[in-house]
């Protein structure tokens, strides 16, 4: 059995390193664009417009939006990495390399998640460095901040994997990010506090899982949140368990990869 564990460790590391090399090789497409886009957000929303706005919960508008913008890049990049990499492996048929190898399905899944997390965190760090040029960064609770980043990245890597399993064309891998992920992210309290919304929209916003992640991360950095931390972690972990179980079920059944 110890031989199997060793073999599986080697297999996992191979998948994870391959995934990291993949996005690192094309860093101009994977790392640079989100850094530039987020820098523009800082300039336009943070500096130009934000300087005209009143503080929120005691923080300047720039300070207030930094956590959400960092988390937004982590969400979109974790998702994008796994959806494009796994769909690419289906399209180019090299997913077969993994399917014929003696690797448990769970390990294939975890390997892809590791790639998504690595890209999410890499871009997150890059964006955080850019943010430091525009404002003084705060760090209220390291453990909360890091765990939210990690769990959010895992969650959206899983979501990207499921999207890739069902995708039959390159159009299919951009539909969910465009029509679901982006609206949910923008409406997830990155640019505003939900307490500023009318009562109905405050309640409606609680149906958006990204709201919980953004607020938990904002607590980690600034110490303020519209949502209870316990509830936020409960929602994030609940989604991770549900999406992991579903992704593993799809992989075991061979949906989208085996006939």
């Amino acid at each position: 059995m110890s031989n199997h564990w060793h073999a599986w460790r080697v297999a996992f590391m191979t998948i994870a390193i391959k995934e990291v090399r993949r996005f690192a090789r094309i860093w101009i497409q994977t790392i640079l664009p989100p850094v530039i886009t987020t820098a523009l957000y800082f300039v336009i929303f943070g500096k130009m417009i934000g300087s005209q706005l009143a503080p929120i919960d005691g923080y300047s508008y720039m300070d207030y939006i930094v956590p959400g913008l960092i988390l937004m890049t982590i969400i979109t990049n974790s998702y994008a990495n796994v959806v494009s990499s796994f769909y690419g492996s289906k399209f180019g048929r090299y997913v077969e390399e993994l399917l014929i190898a003696p690797i448990p399905h769970s390990l294939i899944l975890v390997g892809y998640i590791a790639g998504g997390v690595a890209r999410g965190l890499s871009v997150g760090v890059a964006v955080t460095i850019v943010a430091a040029f525009f404002t003084d960064l705060h760090l209220h609770n390291v453990a909360v901040a890091l765990s939210v980043v990690l769990l959010t990245s895992i969650l959206f890597s899983l979501a990207g994997f499921i999207n890739a399993v069902y995708a039959n064309s390159f159009d299919d891998i951009s539909l969910i990010p465009t029509f679901v992920l982006t609206p949910l992210t923008y409406l997830g309290g990155i640019f505003y506090s939900v307490n500023m919304l009318p009562e109905f929209w405050q309640q409606a916003s609680h149906l958006n899982p990204i709201l919980y992640m953004v607020n938990a991360f904002r607590y980690g950095l600034l110490g303020i949140s519209d949502i209870s931390l316990t509830v936020a972690f409960g929602v994030i972990l609940g989604f991770i368990i549900a999406l992991y179980s579903f992704a593993l079920f799809l992989l075991k059944r061979g949906i989208g990869v085996r006939t």
Binding site: H4, T14, I15, G92, Y94, E97, L99, I100, P102
Partner: protein
Amino acid sequence: MTTHALEISALHKTYPNGFHAVKGIDLTVEQGDFFALLGPNGAGKSTTIGIIASLINKSSGTVKVFGHDLDREPMAVKRLLGLVPQEFNFNQFEPVGEIVLNQAGYYGVDPELAKPRAEWALRSLGLWEKRRNMARQLSGGMKRRLMIARALVHQPKLLILDEPTAGVDIELRRSMWSFLREVNAEGTTIILTTHYLEEAEQLCRNVAIIDHGRIIEHTSIKALLGQLDKETFILDLKRELGSVPVLKCGYPLQMIDAHTLEVEVRREQGLNPVFEEFSAQGIEVLSMRNKTNRLEELFLDLVASSEKGS
């Protein structure tokens, strides 16, 4: 009792669209064999291989590799298998060396052990100098060899090659044959599907012919060739002929052009009577060759009779 390298019983595959691709195949391949799995396009060869390699879910039946049941011990089966598929299935945007090393990693081979093995496989197949090139920069023949190198890096006991030399020029094909013979001689059981029947005749000891999802012949190449009761020869003549010569021995003779004749000879007849009559008539034969590969004639006969029967 010796364990078979491959043992397939009552294997069926029906695709979701209702197509019954494999209809109750029973097949055994001995350890150390070089085995040909032949059949026309769409006969069920690739489906059968896909099932063995866990790329296609079977509808029913059992598959055992070196005694390990695919349903009960899929990991053990996978560890023993190496697959060279028909279609290119590697990342065209990855360097050649990385593709082979990654494959070793998927099989749990430590990087320190994988590196010399990858070097051996790439050198043996003439790809070592290309190890840093992106796979998409390789020629078609090199890509086929890359898939062989990749399949060998974890040292499988059963290597399955699905048309490995398709589109490869004859010189390269012969060097690949020589390499595969060495791999087989070192103890790896090989199953080969090919459309080049000369390839099967040159390399394989045993053969199964599959058609319409059923095995229609399962024997040794020698026994199969023993079934051949006639051969057709092409004769190149020195001088031009005006008409088809009449042979007293009665062998069917056809004129292809003024310098070429085609003669059909039954196994028990021999060619001497033809040459004796040609000498008597002053016809000089410059050279002679088989019209088709001997196995090809048999293959076409077997498939034709299978189609009549179905």
